[in-house]
């Protein structure tokens, strides 16, 4: 593989969708230029960012004249394009399994956890802004899907029924995730892969949010294998490297998590 230019990654806090390509780059040992986009200030919908990514979504990566979005697809690009340890299993059936679990996280587990979290935290934090300014900022969002989502989160428009269904699904998904970890260390058997990076960005917060989110999904009693898996994840140096790029605080002591003891 020929030498390649340094990619530029536009990201918010190193979790959720932004955390996926960030951790993949770190695991791969790829240097990248980090550009922090403050989602709560709606930086992703400002003209200077829209000139780079017209969809106004984060994360996005530019590399060799190309714009890449969709965090999971970016991770596969990172693994395919750069030298470094392989982050995808070589066996076709294992690679299939990696992709299946990434979709399950992207389109089921994460959006449900995220709906609960936005309703409780993200929405109220943004809601303090001047109402006229807020409206203008929402109107500036290019994708209709994202406009609807932001409107719902900011004004607290999720129905009780929707929120209850999301809670139920997080409970279901966390149980399935736990069942899958039976007998092996990583999501796809004994090979660490992009699926683990993907899921970590969503699952890490759940044990810490159990009470505030009224969502007892991931804890040492209900999901011991998931807790052991999280500990293995926290032991990876990539987490420290990437979380150092946080502007706020991830609110979690990495060393304590990496050395957590279970009764």
């Amino acid at each position: 593989m020929k030498m390649t230019e340094k990619p530029v990654l536009y990201h918010w806090e190193p979790n959720a969708n932004s955390g996926k390509p960030m951790l993949a780059l770190a695991e791969k040992g790829v240097e990248f230029t980090s550009v922090y986009i403050d989602m709560l200030e709606f930086d992703q919908h400002k003209p200077e960012y829209l000139a780079i990514n017209p969809m106004g979504t984060i994360p996005a990566m530019t590399h060799e004249g190309h714009l890449l979005n969709e965090s999971t697809a970016i991770m596969e690009y990172v693994d395919a394009r750069f030298e470094g340890p392989s982050l995808r299993p070589s066996d076709p059936a294992e690679r299939w399994k990696m992709r299946w679990w990434m979709k399950y996280c992207d389109q089921y587990y994460a959006p449900c956890a995220s709906m609960v979290a936005w309703d409780l935290f993200t929405g109220p934090r943004v809601r303090d802004k001047d109402p006229e300014e807020l409206k203008a900022r929402i109107d500036a969002i290019p994708l209709e899907e994202r406009r609807i989502a932001w409107r719902k989160a900011i004004y607290g428009l999720f129905s009780e029924e929707e929120l209850a269904e999301s809670r139920r699904r997080v409970m279901e998904a966390s149980a399935l995730f736990e069942a899958n970890l039976e007998g092996h260390d990583w999501i796809v058997g004994n090979t660490f892969s992009l699926a683990d990076i993907n899921a970590f960005n969503l699952v890490y917060i759940l044990p810490h949010m159990a009470e505030t989110m009224k969502l007892p999904s991931v804890d040492p009693v209900r999901t011991p294998r998931t807790m052991e898996w999280l500990r293995r994840m926290y032991q990876r140096p990539s987490i420290k490297t990437i979380w150092a790029l946080s502007r706020g605080s991830m609110g979690i002591d990495i060393d304590a998590e990496a050395n957590r003891e279970f009764a």
Partner: protein, 256 residues
């Protein structure tokens, strides 16, 4: 020998058959009655994925020890396991385009096509067709899948869901045009026929053939692309034997 398990030739089931045919891989087809889906799935409980896949209950591909579900990932599996002829771009950026498009097709377009197709199939069906299939009671299926079946059998879709589905199909047609514009054609990703063409073609088929009960006006470039895919020998041979049918597919994204 590979065995493709289906319950009717949904767009997703057809995409797997088309990929196998394009690669010249022999396969058997096993049909399952959709009225007894939950029972049929009991044969696939050795792994967690088949009963929990977001796309819907079938197709499944059994290849040796592996039971694979979710059609786009089956397509990528086939290209990983049987690389010739290659049905993905060789370069990482081309592969990214393929996967980004797959996400759009699976998350936005597939639910829209399934909603309109299923509504048309079941709305006027005799009551006996709609009564009490086993999956409505099968606790082995995730609740949202049982709900999807119950909704499909209850009658026509709501005006809101119809509008939303039509809007998404409009985005789909625009996307085909823009992909062809970016790549320069003749295929969606450029000069190589790929899994993207297959995945988009099976969803475009009911739209272009006006079998969803809604009128759309595809652009000239997209129409030419559609004819070219339909004219391929492997595609024509599969389609000559099969008629597409619709079953409850993936749900519409709940965030909107």
């Amino acid at each position: 020998m590979k065995t493709l398990h289906i319950a009717d030739w949904t767009p997703q089931a057809l995409s797997v058959a088309l990929t196998l045919a394009e690669k010249g891989l022999p396969f058997e087809v096993e049909h399952h009655d959709w009225r007894a889906l939950a029972q049929a799935l009991e044969g696939f409980t050795a792994t967690l994925e088949p009963g929990n896949t977001l796309e819907g209950e079938f197709p499944l591909l059994v290849d040796g020890d592996a039971t694979l579900c979710d059609s786009h990932f089956i397509l990528e599996y086939l290209d990983d396991a049987c690389p010739e002829p290659a049905l993905r771009p060789d370069d990482a950026y081309g592969q990214w385009r393929l996967q980004a498009l797959a996400r759009f097709l699976g998350e936005r377009v597939a639910p829209a096509i399934a909603s309109l197709g299923v509504s048309r199939r079941f709305a006027d069906a005799p009551a006996t067709t709609r009564e009490e299939p086993d999956m409505l009671r099968a606790t082995s299926l995730p609740r949202e899948r049982r709900d999807a079946w119950a909704a499909a059998l209850a009658g026509p879709i709501s005006p809101h869901l119809r509008d939303e589905s039509q809007r998404k199909i409009g985005l789909f047609l625009e996307r085909i045009e823009s992909e062809l514009d970016t790549s320069g054609g003749p295929w969606l990703l450029g000069t190589r026929f790929t899994l993207s063409d297959i995945a988009a073609f099976v969803l475009a088929k009911p739209v272009f053939e006006a079998s969803l009960g809604v009128d759309f006006a595809p652009g000239a470039r997209a129409a030419r692309w559609f004819e070219q895919v339909a004219g391929r020998a492997a595609v024509a041979s599969v389609l000559a034997d099969q008629t597409m049918a619709f079953l409850p597919g993936p749900e519409h994204a709940r965030w909107g």
